[in-house]
């Protein structure tokens, strides 16, 4: 592995920040503090972390309804994130977007997206911008197993292939689209095999192994930056909680539940880096503490932030309106 101590620390911090952030959102939601729908990323932290740690700041990502993890991994400010989820004026989107539309274009985070399959065409657009401006930036496009059944995935993969766009399609296969198992909704087992339809590389990786994800992402980024076009990376993963908060998850079968429980990217990371002596448990615990504190601050920030003024209802629709 070619990862520096700093990179490892940063990856670990990202994973525990996501975990903490999500568990905190879960509790706040249960208390009725958060309006609307929230979809938690717990269990899938290694994917956003592994991919985004292979990106540079000017690279972009597109995300999904399950977007908090992608945001954090791409460097969005947790205070403003939590405030957004709370619908506050200080939120990343002034409280207008909420969890399903959380975004920070300045950070290259082109938005959570409430439309399943909404991201891939946008990612092609970001890729095109890179090609036309010669910036060399790549775009990582996150989407779920359910989204693979959307026409936009197919069209975008083909478009990215023929235009040779620097896009990395990252399928987060957590085995379910809402209550519907991937074994039902998808005609084949490995989404990555669909890469062959577009003449692009496809790879399956263990989505709970942040090193595996990172390595595959580095490879795909290298290709994309070198002008060799898109790749498809399927990360097998597990959604630890319900589809959205409130979901009873009766549909999850025992096998899924047990395998899912056994998969913990953070625990595995800890085991590996301590075994290798790269970090001590104490060092990692310290990061845990920092992350916990940062999330607590974010919560306090969100709770104490003002609500948006009602004049905001009709602002930001247009840049200019006669």
């Amino acid at each position: 592995m070619n990862l520096s101590q700093d990179q490892l620390r940063s990856m670990y911090r990202t994973m525990v920040s996501i975990r903490n952030f999500e568990e905190t959102v879960k509790q706040a939601f249960a208390k009725g503090h958060i309006p609307g729908f929230v979809h938690l990323y717990v269990g899938e932290e290694a994917i956003a972390t592994g991919v985004c740690s292979a990106l540079r700041a000017s690279d972009t990502i597109t995300s999904t309804h399950r977007g908090h993890g992608h945001c954090i991994a791409k460097g969005c400010d947790m205070n403003s994130m939590m405030a957004e989820i709370y619908g506050k004026a200080t939120g990343l989107c002034k409280g207008k977007g909420g969890s399903m539309h959380i975004a920070d274009v300045g950070k290259g985070m082109l938005g959570a997206n409430g439309i399943v399959g909404g991201g891939p065409p946008l990612a092609c657009g970001a890729g095109l911008t890179s090609v036309v401006t010669g910036s060399g930036d790549v775009c990582a496009c996150f989407f779920g197993d359910g989204a693979c059944e959307q026409g936009t995935f197919h069209e975008s993969a083909n478009l990215a292939a023929i235009w040779n766009l620097p896009v990395i399609f990252v399928a987060e296969n957590n085995g379910y689209a809402q209550s519907t198992p991937a074994s039902y909704h998808c005609a084949i087992e490995n989404i990555a095999e669909r890469a062959a339809s577009y003449g692009i590389p496809g790879a399956v990786v263990d989505g709970s192994d942040v090193f595996a994800v990172h390595e595959a992402a580095v490879e795909a980024v290298k290709r994309a930056r070198a002008g060799q076009g898109p790749s498809l990376l399927e990360c097998k993963t597990y959604r630890h909680h319900g589809h959205f908060e409130g979901d009873q998850q009766t549909y999850k079968d025992d096998l899924y539940k047990s395998v899912s429980q056994g998969k913990d990217s953070i625990r595995d990371f800890r085991a590996l880096v301590t075994q290798h002596g790269w970090f001590t448990s104490e060092e990692l615990d310290a990061i845990d503490g920092e992350a916990r504190q940062a999330v607590e601050e974010a919560l306090a920030y969100a709770e104490s932030s003002p609500l948006p003024g009602v004049e905001e209802v009709t602002s930001d629709v247009y840049v200019s309106y006669p």
């Binding site: 309006p35 609307g36 729908f37 619908g87 506050k88 989107c93 409280g95 207008k96 977007g97 909420g98 399903m100 539309h101 997206n113 409430g114 439309i115 399943v116 399959g117 359910g146 989204a147 059944e149 959307q150 026409g151 936009t152 689209a177 809402q178 209550s179 519907t180 198992p181 039902y184 909704h185 998808c186 009766t250 549909y251 079968d253 025992d254 609500l307 948006p308 009602v310 905001e312 209802v313 009709t314 629709v317």
Partner: protein, 345 residues
């Protein structure tokens, strides 16, 4: 599951379920399909009744009675499965497809704009497309811009579609039954905040005809028109107004297309004043359409400018404080009626 034969008080979700259940019993050509409408029911370990039955539970238990052959979970492929519902209708079935949120129209418009609505016409009357598309409209759930839309104006602009939007449990059952039995494609709009609203619903077969508005409250001073949740707002506003001496007639549109122009005109003829309440966006929306229709066909009866309470020309915001300001509500309606009634003819 036994279905009551006498009227009782149930929720809109239950009323819809009952309509589908009774129709499916009567007609083996009816199949239902949509994302999670069986809801994990294909999983071996799961008792069917524990399955989702759609995100709002409207189709709960149907897979238990009718089996996986007639209650079909779909992949997230709106273009394919809404199109398949149209194709199945054109070849002899009578499918009911659930488009979870109407905003997902973005993913399947072609099936409705260019296929379902037009096949009959393009084929010179030689195709029949008896498909019902159930879909969710409306705000109030803090679901934000993509999941809180009210898109019946777009549907209504498409010739060949019928567009229905009930405001209470009895109409929900009666209009859904009429929609399922209708030989034309019907878009059936269910308001996201109304599934748990209760009302008295007739047992057994119950039909409310498509294309017929209801005078939900007779009155003489002003006509107040709403549809789906805004009909409820109109009724609430009318109560308040009554206390202030304004006797509003409330029309619950029930069907957006075909539009029951006669019932509207009849009322305006009587009251001379019209206030329309609509949750859709205003530009080329429903409120202005009705206002325009009246300005053309009922002009001489109008004694004051037509009042309109609609959403603004903005997407739906997430934050509750913003969404509440965005949406029509009884207070806004009361204010608009007072203004309309204060204007000289």
């Amino acid at each position: 599951m036994a279905v009551a034969t006498a009227a009782r008080t149930i929720t809109i979700a239950e009323a819809l379920n009952e309509s589908i259940r009774l129709e499916m019993r009567a007609d083996p050509k009816i199949v239902i399909m949509g994302e999670d409408i069986a809801g994990g029911a294909q999983v071996e370990h799961l008792e069917d009744d524990e399955a989702w039955g759609g995100v709002m539970g409207v189709t709960k238990g149907l897979v238990h009675e009718f089996g996986r052959e007639r209650v079909l979970d779909t992949p997230i492929s709106e273009a394919a499965f809404i199109g398949a519902a149209v194709g199945a209708a054109a070849t002899g079935l009578r499918p009911i497809a659930e488009l979870m949120f109407c905003g997902f129209l973005g993913s399947c418009l072609d099936s409705l704009l260019n296929q379902g609505s037009k096949l009959r016409y393009m084929f010179g009357g030689k195709a029949t497309v008896p498909v019902t598309i159930r879909t969710m409209i409306g705000g109030g759930f803090r679901a934000a811009a993509q999941h809180a839309q009210t898109l019946y104006p777009m549907f209504a602009n498409i010739p060949g579609l019928k567009v229905v939007a009930p405001s209470n449990a009895a109409d929900a059952k009666g209009l859904l039954t009429a929609s399922i039995r209708d030989d034309d494609p019907v878009i059936f709009c269910e308001h996201i905040t109304m599934y748990t609203m209760k009302g008295e619903v007739p047992g057994g077969e119950h039909i409310v005809p498509i294309g017929k508005a209801a005078v939900a409250r007779p009155g003489s001073d002003v006509t107040l028109l709403g549809v789906s949740l805004t009909a409820v707002h109109a009724l609430n506003a009318a109560e308040t107004l009554a206390k202030e001496g304004i006797d509003a007639e409330v029309i619950d549109l029930r069907t957006v297309s075909p539009l029951d122009e006669e019932t509207i005109l009849e009322s305006v003829k009587k009251t001379g004043r019209l206030v329309i309440v609509d949750e859709a966006n205003p530009l080329c929306g429903l409120a202005s359409h009705i206002a325009g229709m009246v300005a053309s066909r009922g002009f001489h009866w109008l004694q004051a400018p037509v009042g309109m309470v609609t959403a603004p020309h903005s997407p739906v915001p997430f934050s509750p404080v913003l969404e509440d300001a965005y949406l029509p509500n009884p207070q806004k309606v009361v204010a608009a009626v007072k203004e309309t009634c204060s204007k000289a003819s």
